[in-house]
Amino acid sequence: MPTRYGTGLAVAALAAGLGMTAPAFAQVKIAFVDPLSGAMAPIGEHGVKHFQYMIDKINAKGGVNGQKMELLTYDNKLSPQETVIAAQKAIDAGARILTLGNGSGAAAAMIDFVNKHNDRNPGKEVVYLNYAAVDPAFTNDKCSYWHFRWDAHSDIKMQALTTYIKGKPSIKKIYLINQDYSFGHAVRKAANEMLKAKRPDIQIVGDELHPLAKITDFAPYIAKIKASGADSVITGNWGSDIALLLKASADAGLQVDYYTYYAGGAGGPTAIKQTGLKDRVYQITEGIANINVKENLAWEEEFRKKSAGQGWWYPRVRNEMEMLAMAMNEAKSNDPKVFAEKLRGLKYKNIYGKDTYMRAEDHQFFQDIYISALTPMAGDMKFDEENSGWGWKLTATIPMANTDVATTCKMAKPS
C-alpha cells in the first residue's frame, strides 16, 4: 500500500512537471528502490527528488531516443527481502532499469536478483545502476556485468581519507565506529589496514560496530568514545545513524574531529552546528555545493528552489542519469543489453569540468574526490546546509589518478 502511494505521488509529480501533457506512448521506466519508510526514509525521499529532477531535465531535452523517462518508486524498507520483491514488482510494471543506493545488504540482494533474472529471461535483461552502495565487493569478487556503480567505493574513500590523515600529525588516537553489516565491516577493515600502512604511530583506541538503523540514542557510545581518549573519530555511518551520533555528541559536548563518509545527510549539519565543531567534522564526497564553478552553483540554486532549500546531496545521481541518457542515445537503443555495452568505459565531463570515466573492467566510476569541512558561512561560500548558516568548505581535493585502486574483478560477459 505505501508503495502504491509513493508511485502515485511520483506519477503526479511527473505529470505536473510535464504540464499535464504526459504522452500516452511507451516510456522508459526507471525503478527507484530504496527505504521510503522507517529511520532511513529521509535519505530515500531526498533521493527520489534527485532522480525526479534529473528525469525532468532529460525529458525537457527530448528524452532518450524519442522516448520520455518515467520514475517508479518502491519502498524496500532497507531489507534485502523487500528489495527483491520490489525489484520483481518494478519489472512486472515494465521497468528495465533499476536503481538503488542505500544499504549494501539490499544492494547485494539486488545484484544477485538481477544476475538470476537475466540468466532466466534472455531478451528481457534488466540493469542495476548503483548510486550509493559502496561495499567494495560489488566491483571486486562479486562484480557483475549488469551492475554499474557511480559512488566511489569504501576502499577508494578510505584511501583518500588516509592520504589526508597522513599529512596531519596532530592525529594520535582514532576511534572507529561503524554500522554492523557488510559496509561498516569494509570501512573498519580498510581503516585498520590503511592507517597501519600510512601512519603506524596512530593508535586505534576503539573499533565499534553497532546495529544498523536501530539505535535512537547514541549517548552510551559517546561516553565510550570519551572514555577512550580519542582525538578523532572515523565513521562510515549514514542516515539516522550519523545524525543521531552527532546529536548525542553535541548533547555530551564531546570535542573530537570527525572523519565521516556521510555527515552531510539529513540532520547531520544541524547537529554539527549544535556541537560547535567548527572545521572539525569532515566528509568525503564526490562533490559539494560550494565548488566554485558557475554551472555547479547555478545547478544548486535551481534545485534548492524546488526542494524546500535542501541541497543537491548526490552529484553522483547527476553523473549516473546523464551518462545513462548518453549511453542510450549513443547506442540508439533503450534496451539494457545494448546500451550497457556503451556504458562500459564511457568517458564523461562532470559539472565541475573534470574528466571522469566508468571503468570497463569492473563497472566502477572514477572521479576526483573532495574532502570538505562544515564551517560557518564565510568568504566565497555560497550555500549553507539545513538553514543552519553553516556550509561545506573545500579542504582538499584528491585527483582521480590517486583514487585508482586495483580490482580483482573477472567480469563474465554474457553471450
Partner: protein, 312 residues
C-alpha cells in the same frame, strides 16, 4: 560510568512508565495488549502536534489525557465487545489495533521522523563532569518518570481506588459481588495505562526519535519487562525495567568477546576457520539481544517471573 548509569536508569524508567500500565492491564484482564507501545507512539505524536500549537508544557498534560481517553474508548467499545468471544479474539484485536495505529500515524504525520524538538527552556546542559555534559532535558525526563512512579505507588497502596484495583487483580468476581463496577475499573485502568504510556511518549519523543517505527522498536522489549518482572507485579516490572535499561546501556561499554575469554583461560584465540567471526563478536554487539535471552531463561527457570505469583 556515572553517565552510563544515568542513561541506563533513564531508559529503565521510560520502560517502566510503559510496563506499569501494561502489566496492570495484563494481569487484570488477561489480555496481552499488543497495542500498548502504539499508545506510547500516539503520545509522542500528540505531544509533537500540541507542542507545535500550544507549547510543550500544554502538550505534557494534554497529550496523555487525550491518549488516555482514546485508550478508555478502545476498552469500552472495542475490547469489551470482543471479550465475549474469549481471550484469543481479544489478543488478535490488540494485535490488529497496533497496525491500524501505525498506518493512521503514517497517514496523518507521514513516514518520515517529525521534527520534535526539546523545549527551549530545557535546552541546555544540566551539569558537566570530567568534561562531559549531561542535557537538562534528560534530567527532566528522569525526574518526571520518578515522580510518576512515586505517585503510582501511593495511589495503588494507599488510596481506596488502589485497593479496589489490587483486589480486582486477583479476585475480580469477588470484587464485583461486593458491588463494585469491575468493568468500569477495567476501563479506567486501561485508559490510565495508555495515558502513562503517552507520558513516556511525550517526554521520550524529543530525546529519541519520533517516527512511525518507534512502537515496533519498543514493543517486544515491553513484553520482556512484563514477563520477566512477573505478571501484575509493579515492583517486578520496576526492577525488570531498571535491570534491562542498565544491561542495555552497560553492555555497549564492554568490549569483551568470546575469543578473549578463551584466550584468558589459556586455550588461545581461534582466528581462522568457519566460525572465526563468532569468536570476535563482542558483548557490545550482542547487547540488544541480552533482554530476550533473559526472557527465555526466566521462562525456563522461573515461569512466574521475578516477583509474580501466577504462571504466564
Amino acid at each position: 560510568m556515572i553517565f552510563s548509569t544515568l542513561n541506563g536508569v533513564l531508559y529503565g524508567m521510560l520502560l517502566f512508565l510503559l510496563a506499569s500500565g501494561l502489566t496492570l492491564i495484563f494481569s487484570m484482564m488477561g489480555v496481552l495488549n499488543f497495542a500498548h507501545a502504539s499508545f506510547y507512539m500516539l503520545g509522542a505524536y500528540f505531544g509533537f502536534q500540541i507542542s507545535q500549537w500550544l507549547g510543550f508544557w500544554v502538550a505534557l498534560v494534554a497529550a496523555p489525557v487525550l491518549v488516555g481517553l482514546i485508550g478508555a474508548a478502545v476498552e469500552r467499545w472495542g475490547l469489551r465487545t470482543v471479550h465475549k468471544w474469549g481471550h484469543v479474539p481479544e489478543l488478535l484485536f490488540t494485535f490488529g489495533l497496533a497496525f491500524v495505529v501505525e498506518e493512521l500515524v503514517q497517514m496523518v504525520w507521514g513516514k518520515l521522523p517529525v521534527d520534535y524538538r526539546v523545549p527551549a527552556l530545557l535546552d541546555f546542559s544540566a551539569f558537566e563532569l570530567f568534561g562531559t555534559t549531561y542535557p537538562a532535558f534528560r534530567m527532566f525526563m528522569l525526574l518526571i518518570s520518578v515522580a510518576i512512579f512515586l505517585v503510582l505507588l501511593l495511589v495503588l497502596t494507599r488510596s481506596r481506588i488502589g485497593l479496589i484495583i489490587q483486589a480486582a487483580l486477583t479476585h475480580p468476581n469477588m470484587v464485583a459481588m461486593l458491588g463494585h463496577n469491575v468493568p468500569k475499573v477495567f476501563m479506567m485502568v486501561f485508559g490510565f495505562g495508555c495515558g502513562l504510556a503517552a507520558i513516556a511518549g511525550v517526554i521520550a519523543g524529543p530525546a529519541l526519535v519520533t517516527q512511525p517505527s518507534m512502537a515496533h522498536v519498543l514493543g517486544p522489549i515491553l513484553f520482556v519487562v512484563v514477563v520477566f518482572g512477573g505478571l501484575g507485579s509493579l515492583p517486578g516490572a520496576f526492577i525488570a525495567s531498571l535491570l534491562i535499561g542498565l544491561i542495555q546501556t552497560f553492555a555497549i561499554a564492554i568490549n569483551y568477546s568470546l575469543g578473549d575469554a578463551l584466550g584468558a583461560i589459556g586455550i588461545g584465540r581461534p582466528i581462522s576457520g568457519a566460525l572465526s567471526d563468532m569468536w570476535q563478536v563482542t558483548v557490545a554487539q550482542i547487547g540488544p539481544v541480552v533482554p530476550y535471552l533473559m526472557l527465555v531463561l526466566i521462562l525456563i527457570f522461573r515461569p512466574t517471573g521475578l516477583m509474580g505469583t501466577r504462571e504466564t
